[in-house]
Symmetry: C2
Subunit: 381 residues, 2 copies
């Protein structure tokens, strides 16, 4: 059935050296024996998500990247700016595996029933170190793929789908009834747009380019605001008034966008007010920052009263808050919609050495909306 399992295989590594240099390389590591409740997955597809880049690139300036070694075993180095280096002291000198999620074929299994049941199956898996040819994974972090799904179909089964579901769940848990999303033409944004249409949640999509607005409208999005247009603030206010959205998820982080959203929410909240309120509207307006596409400081003008909040948002604490039962329900929902609601698309497929080519690093390091890399450590059977 499965190809023979080698004794050693490749694993991508990220190392922060004491000389303030990032080093990316491929290590040859022993292929692990699966433990009793583990399966050994031959990884056939793993996405490069924005949430992988912090660990992978360590804030290094990718324009300084140079490559040594051989085409099969490249060794890439790049300089890490002072500001980024300050937060990295705990990982200096430690060669770290990378890759939050991936998918592939189970080629060996531990003794437990749960593990044995997956033998020969295609699974999606989460838990890190997925940019590798083989990975032993606890069955609790595996999702069996439908028989007709490819590894590429399942590669992005966790991070983006659970994040999209985390946003709509957070909306319900915190008593909002509509959402705002920035960088809305991303893979995640398109997924959230489909999810909100299916669940009839009004969603205001904020994009930065006319072609991104077209893309989302063609896919059925009702509210799309292009921040590059001069009438952006007016259009956003109108969309917020119509939808009543008081919760936003912002992938950009830096600059004035989060503050602009709060300002427009406040105008929308006051549009129906009849009396002057000296402290601003009593409607709570919230922005969660879950990414940092713009690394500059967040600038808040605070012209929206005192009923507002901004904070960081991360998938793992959300799942802990939701609890294991609800998290399992959400995972089932993802499995059912893997090739529809929760489908991802990729603009480039690269091998493990290919993922360390300077072209590829420049490509995913730019974090351009619509450019998405899939690493293929082993070709599918």
């Amino acid at each position: 059935m499965a190809a023979q399992i080698p004794a050693e295989a490749l694993q991508l590594r990220s190392l922060v050296r004491p000389d303030q240099t990032l080093e990316l390389s491929l290590a040859t590591v022993p292929v692990p024996e699966p433990g009793p409740n583990e399966v050994l997955v031959r990884i056939e597809a793993a996405p490069v998500n924005p949430s992988d880049l912090g660990l992978l690139l360590a804030g290094a300036d990718v324009t300084t990247a140079t490559s040594m070694g051989t085409p099969d075993r490249p060794v890439v180095t790049a300089l890490i700016p002072d500001a980024a280096m300050r937060g990295l002291t705990a990982r200096v000198g430690e060669s770290m595996p990378v890759g939050n999620e991936g998918a592939g074929t189970v080629v060996a299994a531990g003794a437990s029933d749960a593990a044995q049941m997956l033998l020969g199956k295609k699974v999606a898996a989460a838990g890190g170190a997925m940019y590798a040819q083989y990975r032993a994974v606890d069955t609790a972090f595996c999702l069996e793929l439908p028989p007709d799904a490819t590894a590429a179909d399942g590669a992005s089964s966790f991070v983006n789908p659970m994040t999209a579901l985390g946003m709509t769940e957070t909306m319900r848990m915190e008593n909002h009834t509509a959402l705002v999303h920035t960088a809305a033409a991303s893979n995640l944004g398109q997924m959230l747009s489909r999810l909100c249409q299916e669940d009839q949640i009004p969603l205001v999509n904020i994009v930065r380019k006319p072609e991104q607005e077209e893309l989302l409208r063609a896919a059925g999005a009702a509210f799309v605001c292009d921040s590059s247009k001069p009438e952006f603030m007016d259009e956003l206010t109108a969309a917020l008034t119509q939808t009543g959205a008081t919760l936003a998820f912002d992938a950009t982080g830096g600059g004035t966008l989060a503050s602009q959203i709060l300002s427009c929410m406040e105008v929308a909240a006051n549009a129906t007010a009849t009396a002057y309120s000296r402290y601003g509207s009593a409607v709570h307006k919230q922005v969660y920052i879950y990414g940092s596409l713009d690394k500059s400081p967040t600038e808040l003008t605070r012209n929206y009263g005192l009923a507002w909040g901004i904070g960081g948002w991360l998938l793992t604490p959300f799942l802990q808050q939701a609890g294991p039962a609800r998290a399992a329900q959400l995972r089932d929902q993802v499995a059912a919609g893997l090739t529809t609601t929760f489908a991802s698309s990729y603009t480039a497929r690269v091998s493990l050495p290919g993922a360390l080519s300077l072209d590829a690093i420049a490509g995913y390091g730019r974090q351009a909306t619509g450019a998405k890399y899939l690493i293929v450590p082993n070709a599918g059977p």
Copy 2:
């Protein structure tokens, strides 16, 4: 007993004119008949709190203030900048009374027992329009003062004491164990420092001047950090590490202080960490902005992972969240500590016309820590 009640009396008014000018004046208004559950209070003392200034000054540029009228009936005008005017459309042309709280003698009472019981007593009162010679107040918004307390003792019984208690209550409700406070040498700051010492809550006081540090240390504060010192960040980090404070209340709002506090909290949280966490510490770090001494934008560098939040904080929604029973307990606590824990001090006492002198307006308009005005609409009996 009480002096005769006049038919008309003075009330301070703030008006935003359509020509983008603030107009402050004294109106002669009928002295109201108290309703069944109301008392008529002859106001003898009312503080100028930072929370009064938004309504009073409407964001006008007080350096442009000019005075007309007579010394007894001044009429002051000042220009309102464009940015401030945008939020004021709902109050243009409406002459508004001002003054969140005050204290005085009950000179008439409605028919209810609660009202009759207060006749002839000294009370503190909240509810607005206290910069006036007489004010009818529902007994629910009155606090009977101890027999030996003066109106000046009771004038600040609501806003600052309940805000200080609101901070320690919020700390408990949101599962923090220590606090940070900025502009900590203010009347409110000194009050919070006494309250935290009594309740054994570790409090990190942030001040801007050496003499403010001395003032707080002389009053028993254990942790005081002066942001004007070059070693401020290091001292703040040390204090946060020692106290474990993960909640801050910030009166300044603008600039980088809130972000600096979060940065130091993150360093303190990681001081005990043994492994590298790619998304920052999992410890939730929170800053509530409750004032705007610095009107410039808030600047967040976001170098503190994703477990952080910033938001506006206001007394009224807090009291609604705490519920009426707990609010009543807190009010009793204030009454018991009116001349000790919750005592206020004033640097200037002014009459109603005196409150509209250009000197006084420049004084309280500057919002300098340590300068506090008390308006005396009627001298005490």
